[in-house]
Structure formats: structure tokens, C-alpha cells
């Protein structure tokens, strides 16, 4: 039998979540050790005897036995989850309680508990995302470093610190208390949003890795949607945004790994099922008075998704949605997106004007698609030389071969004098989240913090 895609990674998250629930969050490292052991054992058996009928159940059972073993051996030396301790102490209750704790439904709650625990307010957002990826999605330190184009050392520091904070929190987040749940929910949304965007727009050269990040974010969002307190309009809006953006993934990169801009994408390749699902979530998100940035961004994605041809795009509405977004979460990247939409609607001169009036424009200086946007608009108004200079500047900032090839093609369009419009894509850079706060309170978590810094 063949293991399903990323089965090991997924099971890693389930096992760590369940074991941490039993051992207590202070024993996170112990839980991770038991998981490593379970994997070693699985590999030793499966490589010779082949995969079992139900590999998930096999792994979970192995982790459960590992837990039993640890609990029996270390009962006196260690304290485990305080709220379970009286059940774990007695041989009479130990096995049946573990049986219950490792049931599929219990593990689902454990995943949610862990997701909320990872989004601890004492952790900066990038650390929250790294923790989620590491603990819940089974990404190793090196896999996280490579997905975020960050160094091993920097990722290790971030992860070690984050785990320390998590293990230092008294207990796992209580997902049964409605008030606490809704207070932490926005942070969870934000972490999943960042995870998704790092996949969608991030700097990693590997398309497959990035699609994986998107998929993981969607999987975790689905877990939220299943929970009675989790399926809020904002969660639906976030899910809508993810579906509608992810629908374009198949058309976004061609067979040879080249980035295809929104203007040139073969729209028949868009995933219609995801579009339908996204629109359904968008409708569900409209219940209630709350309007989040996810609502607005999903609405923008919906306009793109429902335009059969680029010419059918309702740019005026997109511009006004970006206006709304600017009032909610102002950032130079949002302003740049807005300026490009203006250019689509009213011509490149107006777009350049808008770009020129972006406050904190300097923060865009290191972002390759800022220079590329300038180049594109100059090219459209026929100033091929100026455009070429912008694209050369963008090329120097390109973060991976895919971006480099894309910008190279744009540069040669300038040199050929090919002024056909060719470029529109939503911009995103995790580092440029918001410019509203030059944070006066360093202790506060800043949405401005250099997400996934390329140290």
C-alpha cells in the first residue's frame, strides 16, 4: 500500500498534539521524542513488512503505547498534564483514559488546542507561524528555513525561543471557553493568513513547497470551520480568500516553472471547484456585522475569479475595495495593489501618480515587484528605456530563479519595445504587513515585525 501524500507529516501533528495534551505542554519536548520513536519504529517495521492497512491508526496506536510506557516509567519523577493527573496516576484508569484521549475526535480537539496555543500573544507572528508549521504540520527546522528562505540558524533561534514560550505557558489553550476562544481567534486567523500568503506569494523557489504551505493553511482553516466557536463569519471570509486565491494556483506557473501573470493566465485552468467553494464561503461570511480584511480581500479575489476574461474585470470595484482595505490595514503593499488597479482602470499615468503618492514608499524599496510595477506602467505608456531600468532594478532584487526568469522576460519585452500590457498580480510581502505603526510599544506584537526575515 502506498502512503497518502504527506501522511507522515500530518500524523506527526496529530501525534504531537495528542501527546502534549497527555503529558502537559511543559513536556512538549518529551512528546516530540515519543513521536520520533514512533516514526523510527514505523519505518523499521514498514520497510520490511510493508505498510499496514491503516497507517494512521498504526502510528497513533504506537504513539499511545509510547505514552503508556513513559507514563508508567516516569510517573513519580515527572508531572504530566495537571488536569489529567489523577487519571494517569492509577493503573485502573490509565489505559482507558489514554484510549479516550487518542480517539480520532479527541485528537481533532487537540489539534485545535495546539493551534490556539501556538498563537500565543507573547510570540511574534512569524514565530507563531513557524510553530504552527513545525508542530501541527510536521515541517522540520530545515524545511521551514527553506520554505521561508531563511537561514538554518535564524530559524532555529526563532523556533527554540517559540517552543520555550509555549512550553512555559501553564497549560494548553482551553478551547471550551467561548470568551477565550473568540479573543484568540483573530491571532489564529492571522497566522493562517500569513502561512497561506507565504505559500502563495513567498520567496521560496519551489512551487511544490509553496503550494504545500497553501494547502496546510487551508487544512487548518478547515479544522476551525468544523468547530462550533471557530466557524465565524471571519473564518468563512478567510476560507473564501484561500479558496479563491488557491483556485488560480494551477494557472500561475507554467509547465517549465515560469511565473504567469494574472493578465496572461489561462483562466480555463483555474480550479472551478475551489471557486465555487470560495464563493460559497464568501456568502456565509456575510452573516453578521463584522467586516474584516479577509472579507475585503476575498471580495477582490471573487471579482477576479468571476471575470471570464481579463477585460471583464470590474477594476472600479476593486479600487474601492482596496480603499476599504487601506482604512482597515494600511500598508505600502496594499497601496501598491490599489495603484495597479487604478492603472488598469484609468491608464498607466494615473497608476504612476498613485504609486508616487504612497506614503512610506521607501519601505517598498527592497521588494522586487515594486520596481517591476513601475517598469510595467512605464512600459505601457511606451517609455521603454525607463521601464527597462526599473526591471533591471527589480532583477537585482529577485529572490529566486522563478522571479528572475519572469523579470528577465519583462526586461526583454522592454528591449523589444513590446508595450503590450502583461502584468498584474496581487502583491504581497510578509515583511511589509503594515506601515501604520512605527511601534511605540516594543512589547506589543507588531504586525510590522519582519515576517520570515531573510537573515
Amino acid at each position: 500500500m502506498e502512503p497518502g501524500d504527506h501522511l507522515f507529516r500530518r500524523e506527526s501533528g496529530r501525534m504531537v498534539a495528542a501527546l502534549t495534551r497527555v503529558f502537559g505542554v511543559h513536556n512538549l519536548a518529551l512528546a516530540e521524542d515519543v513521536v520520533q520513536d514512533a516514526f523510527c519504529r514505523a519505518l523499521e517495521v514498514w520497510r520490511i513488512r510493508g505498510m499496514p492497512e491503516n497507517p494512521s491508526a498504526w502510528l497513533i496506536a504506537t504513539a499511545k503505547n509510547g505514552a503508556l510506557d513513559v507514563l508508567r516509567r516516569q510517573r513519580t519523577a515527572r508531572t504530566f498534564a495537571p488536569e489529567l493527573s489523577r487519571f494517569l496516576r492509577s493503573e485502573w484508569t490509565l489505559a482507558p483514559v489514554l484510549e479516550e484521549l487518542f480517539a480520532a475526535n479527541a485528537i481533532k480537539d487537540d489539534l485545535l488546542r495546539m493551534m490556539f496555543s501556538c498563537c500565543h500573544p507573547r510570540l511574534p507572528e512569524p514565530a507563531q507561524v513557524a510553530l504552527v508549521l513545525h508542530i501541527l504540520c510536521g515541517f522540520s527546522l530545515d524545511e521551514i528555513a527553506s520554505a521561508f528562505v531563511s537561514s538554518h540558524a535564524a530559524t532555529e533561534r526563532r523556533l527554540t525561543r517559540a517552543k520555550k514560550v509555549l512550553a512555559g505557558s501553564k497549560r494548553l489553550f482551553d478551547v471550551t471557553a467561548p470568551a477565550d476562544f473568540s479573543a484568540r481567534l483573530p491571532a489564529v486567523h492571522r497566522a493562517l493568513y500569513l502561512l497561506f500568503n507565504e505559500g502563495y506569494h513567498g520567496a521560496s523557489a519551489e512551487t511544490a513547497v509553496r503550494a504545500e504551505l497553501c494547502r496546510e493553511a487551508m487544512r487548518l482553516a478547515a479544522l476551525l470551520l468544523e468547530h462550533p466557536f471557530g466557524s465565524t463569519p471571519a473564518t468563512c471570509a478567510l476560507a473564501a480568500l484561500m479558496c479563491l486565491d488557491a483556485a488560480r494556483l494551477p494557472a500561475r506557473v507554467d509547465a517549465s516553472g515560469n511565473l504567469i501573470s494574472l493578465l496572461d493566465q489561462d483562466r480555463s485552468q483555474w480550479d472551478q471547484e475551489l471557486i465555487v467553494e470560495g464563493l460559497k464561503f464568501l456568502e456565509l461570511s456575510a452573516k453578521g456585522p463584522e467586516l474584516t480584511q479577509y472579507h475585503v480581500e476575498a471580495a477582490i479575489a471573487a471579482i477576479h475569479a468571476s471575470a471570464r476574461r481579463i477585460e471583464d474585470t470590474d477594476w472600479a470595484t476593486i479600487v474601492s475595495l482596496y480603499d476599504t482595505l487601506m482604512t482597515m490595514r494600511p500598508s505600502p503593499v496594499v497601496a501598491l495593489n490599489r495603484a495597479i488597479a487604478v492603472a488598469q482602470n484609468e491608464g498607466p499615468e494615473r497608476g504612476l501618480e498613485e504609486i508616487g503618492s504612497i506614503s512610506n514608499r521607501d519601505r517598498l524599496a527592497a521588494y522586487p515587484f515594486y520596481a517591476a510595477a513601475l517598469g510595467e506602467l512605464e512600459l505601457r505608456r511606451g517609455r521603454c528605456q525607463t521601464a527597462g531600468a526599473h526591471f533591471r532594478a527589480a532583477l537585482a532584487l529577485a529572490r529566486n530563479p522563478m522571479e528572475r526568469r519572469f523579470l528577465d522576460r519583462r526586461l526583454s519585452a522592454c528591449e523589444r519595445g513590446d508595450t503590450r500590457r502583461a502584468y498584474y498580480e496581487r502583491f504581497w510581502d510578509g515583511r511589509l504587513g503594515s506601515f501604520a505603526n512605527s511601534d511605540p510599544h516594543p512589547s506589543r506584537i507588531s504586525p510590522d515585525s519582519p515576517a520570515f526575515s531573510r537573515e
Partner: protein
């Protein structure tokens, strides 16, 4: 044709789940290939990492035999090959070599009683 055992030694305790899954697929492919070429006499068995060692006249029992992950024999298979050199050649395809492990190739004695 002669028979050999392969003893698979070494335990990778640091691999990521994704690496393990890919690694497992290599084992599946390797055994499939051995089977197709008629070189796999028996898949063999995995061995528990833990065990006991009984030693000496005093029958001293200790945990063991392996103190370190790299020394652990995690299983064995039975292989058919022309001779030792051939068996060694085949063993070079074993995926355990890619993760710092080793294969011990031991001829099974041919005895005519």
C-alpha cells in the same frame, strides 16, 4: 546460488516526517526490484530495539545490546546471490546507506551433514 542475510544497522532519529516518508518509498522500491530479479529469498523481520543480554557463567542480565542508535540492528532479510561479491554489490542499493546506516552482509553457511 547462495544465501545471505542482510542485517540493517543504524537508526535515524533526526529525520523529518517528510524525509521518512520518502525514505520508506525507497525501501518499497528496492525490495520490489530485488523481488523482480529473484534475489529476495525472504523479506525477513524487523527487530525490536530493546532487548536483554545475558552474559557469562553468572548469567548477568543487562539491557541491550545497543547503547547507541547507530549500532541498532533494526531488522534483517534473506537474499540470494551468486557469491559474496554479488551479495555485496546488491546491498549497495539499500536505502539505509543514504541515511547513515549500514548493511552487514553475512553468508549463510552451506553445510552438508
Amino acid at each position: 546460488m547462495s544465501e545471505f542475510t542482510y542485517l540493517y544497522r543504524g537508526r535515524d532519529t533526526t529525520a523529518s516526517p517528510e524525509q521518512r516518508q520518502k525514505h520508506l518509498q525507497k525501501w518499497v522500491a528496492w525490495f520490489k526490484e530485488l523481488g523482480a530479479q529473484g534475489q529476495l529469498k525472504e523479506l525477513g523481520h524487523p527487530l525490536e530495539v530493546t532487548g536483554m543480554v545475558v552474559k557469562g557463567n553468572q548469567k548477568i542480565v543487562t539491557d541491550g545490546p545497543y547503547a547507541e542508535a547507530k549500532d541498532v540492528v533494526g531488522g534483517y532479510s534473506l537474499i540470494e546471490a551468486k557469491d559474496l561479491a554479488h551479495a555485496v554489490e546488491i546491498s549497495k542499493g539499500c536505502p539505509i546507506l543514504e541515511v547513515g546506516g549500514s548493511v552487514e552482509v553475512r553468508p549463510i553457511m552451506q553445510i552438508n551433514m
